[in-house]
């Protein structure tokens, strides 16, 4: 089984069923399948060969969904990046993944106008959007317009011959790491099919589901909404973002959604709204992941959505999902993130790798077909996360997250072993933000930490010492960060200090700076 079979099977079973709703458009499975097939042939004609990486840098849109299936059909590996990613980081990801093809829109392509010559592996740019939007005149590479490809009847409507097998890579998902450089999580078809199968099993996903997705597809939680809906032949209501909640909720009510995936930041926004005006009687389930859902949110969500089952979950990109709390357990153990999902085993170990008993805090370890193959071309970082397991033939995932379990094996998140910040449900590497701030003239030392925030979960805060004579202001720092970092990584607070605390060995101490 390969990931593109999710689309192909549903297109074959129910070609006329609506697969995707976006703005005023409704695309059937047959339409998505035909567009993806044509694009995959066009990509192959442009030189894409099995195993090639294709970076997709778009807002949520049908073109994004079509592109990722087209890449898979052609035997390629997709890399979806956040639409708010800035030029320097895109350049890093394109070069690190050695992507041969970039799928983006003319406006974003224009942001790369000064770096085309620094992208030695990139050969083709596929532009999304209407053909008459014009192309970025600055781009010296081969161009392809997706709308022209979809309309090109000389391209076959059927998929290209299969070359990949299920242990081939399907995706690289870039995630923040403690080193400050994003790392590409290598996921095979088998990894992703396994994760999608486990999750759709416990959610009891079905063809009659209509799932709302406003999470970016660069975030694996968003990406899997597409994959899982297509797997079971359901309908996905895709939105660009949750920036205008009322508009999104109105559409959701009109389409009578049955599934609502959220992160705690979204539940904080929902709970501030007058929800009585929306009829969500069709809603079958709500899922929340990325950070623990505050118990106060849980009880209010249940009042607002009395018909919906609420799933509190936990996961990390390196294995997609770890655990879910069966909704009927929510009253019994509201702070637990549940147990391992179907076809997966989890346990907690001490510093020596020995399993610990109930109530004892240790690192959570995951074994299952959903565990990644490692970080792209980074054996050192891979060896920290993937280590020998109980059996001589296996490697298991050390999550870096500290947990404890109760007597019945339900898991409770305690904290992270490293200092990664979770803001709006996404991981932020303090080091990555610090490195960006260090590039500003006048900055002497920087420490970036997460501080509690009712909406964001954690907000990013930068403590800075300046060089003598520097007149740098907080606004200067924020403007610089806005130009260099994705939205969710930008500091919300900047505080200047005369000096920053250090550890006994003389290193700057993130832990100390918050308490002083």
């Amino acid at each position: 089984m390969q990931l593109e079979n999710f689309l192909e099977n549903s297109a074959s079973h129910s070609p006329e069923k609506v697969a995707l709703i976006f703005d005023q458009r409704r695309l059937t499975y047959a339409e998505v399948e035909t567009a993806a097939n044509r694009l995959s042939h066009a990509l192959i004609a442009k030189g894409l060969v099995r195993g090639d990486r294709v970076t997709i840098w778009l807002e949520n849109s049908p073109d994004l969904v079509i592109a990722l299936f087209a890449v898979l059909k052609a035997g390629g590996v997709f890399v979806v990046v956040n639409p708010t990613t800035k030029g320097a980081k895109i350049q890093y990801i394109l070069n690190n993944s050695r992507s041969r093809i970039l799928v983006t829109d003319p406006r974003r392509a224009e942001l790369l106008r000064d770096c085309w010559s620094d992208l030695p592996y990139l050969q083709v740019v596929c532009l999304s959007g209407e053909a008459d939007h014009g192309d970025p005149g600055s781009c010296p590479l081969q161009l392809l317009a997706s709308s022209a490809v979809y309309a090109d009847q000389s391209l076959p409507d059927s998929p290209p011959d299969k070359k990949a097998i299920d242990i081939d890579l399907a995706a690289l998902i870039y995630t923040s790491g403690s080193t400050g450089r994003p790392k590409g999580v290598m996921m095979t078809h088998l990894n992703m099919v396994s994760a999608a199968t486990s999750i759709t099993t416990y959610l009891q996903s079905r063809a009659s589901d209509i799932v709302l997705c406003f999470l970016p597809l660069s975030f694996d939680y968003g990406l899997y909404q597409v994959l899982m809906a297509f797997k079971v032949g359901a309908t996905l209501l895709l939105e660009r973002s949750f920036a205008f909640p009322h508009r999104v909720l109105q559409t959701a009510v009109r389409e009578r959604i049955t599934g609502l995936p959220i992160v705690p930041t979204v539940s904080a926004i929902l709970l501030q709204m007058d929800m009585a005006q929306y009829d969500f009687s069709s809603l079958r389930y709500i899922t929340s992941t990325a950070a623990a859902l505050p118990t106060a949110h849980v009880s209010r969500l249940r009042t607002l959505f009395p018909n919906a089952r609420i799933y509190s979950m936990y996961g990390l990109t390196e294995c997609k999902r770890v655990s879910y709390l069966p909704p009927e357990q929510l009253d019994i153990r509201p702070t637990s993130v549940g147990r391992g999902m179907p076809n997966e085993e989890v346990y907690i170990v001490d510093e020596q790798g020995r399993r610990v008993g109930p109530g004892i805090v240790g690192e959570l370890v995951v074994r299952g077909a959903n565990v990644m193959k490692g970080y792209w071309e980074d054996p050192q970082e891979t060896s920290i996360r993937l280590r020998p397991g109980s059996y001589p033939w296996e490697q298991v995932l050390y999550t870096g997250d500290l947990f404890k379990a109760d007597d019945e094996g339900y898991l409770y998140f305690v904290g992270r072993k490293d200092e990664i910040i979770k803001s709006r449900g996404e991981k932020v590497s303090p080091k990555e933000v610090e490195e960006v701030i260090y590039r500003l003239d006048g900055v002497s030392e920087v420490l970036v930490v997460g501080v509690p925030d009712t909406i964001l979960g954690q907000a990013v805060k930068a403590y800075i010492t300046l060089r003598p004579g520097s007149t740098l202001t907080a606004a200067n720092v924020m403007q610089h960060c806005a130009q260099e970092l994705e939205d969710y990584m930008r500091p919300k607070f900047v505080e200047f200090r005369d000096h920053l605390p250090t550890t006994p060995t003389g290193k700057l101490s993130r832990r100390e700076v918050v308490t002083r």
């Binding site: 639409p83 708010t84 406006r107 660009r240 973002s241 949750f242 920036a243 205008f244 909640p245 009322h246 508009r247 930041t265 979204v266 926004i269 709204m273 007058d274 005006q277 709006r424 909406i455 964001l456 606004a475 200067n476 924020m478 403007q479 610089h480 806005a482 939205d487």
Partner: protein, 95 residues
């Protein structure tokens, strides 16, 4: 219709989202398309409007037509200041 100070709106967006003094885009330009606004940013704009103009923004008014450009903001605030209760569903309008 009461007109809000468009320059104050430009300055607010420039200071808080672009972290500079002058708003560099046209008044009709979409904040979302320019990549300068996200879901948390929208909440920030609402807080600003409510504090500065002493208006109450209802959930159903949080739509791109009202909040996604300088022009949209100016017209929305103008309408709110002219007939606040009418717009929020009150029984009679005040001038």
């Amino acid at each position: 219709m009461v007109q809000p100070d468009v320059n104050a709106l430009r300055t607010f967006i420039a200071n808080n989202f672009l972290f500079c003094d002058d708003f560099p885009l046209s008044d009709a330009a979409s904040f979302m398309e320019a990549g300068i606004l996200d879901s948390v940013g929208v909440l920030q704009i609402i807080l600003f409007l409510e504090e500065r103009y002493r208006i109450k923004v209802a959930d159903e008014e949080i739509v791109p037509e009202n909040l996604d450009s300088i022009l949209g903001l100016a017209q929305f605030v103008g309408r709110k200041l002219t007939a606040p209760e009418m717009l929020t569903g009150g029984s009679h309008a005040t001038k």
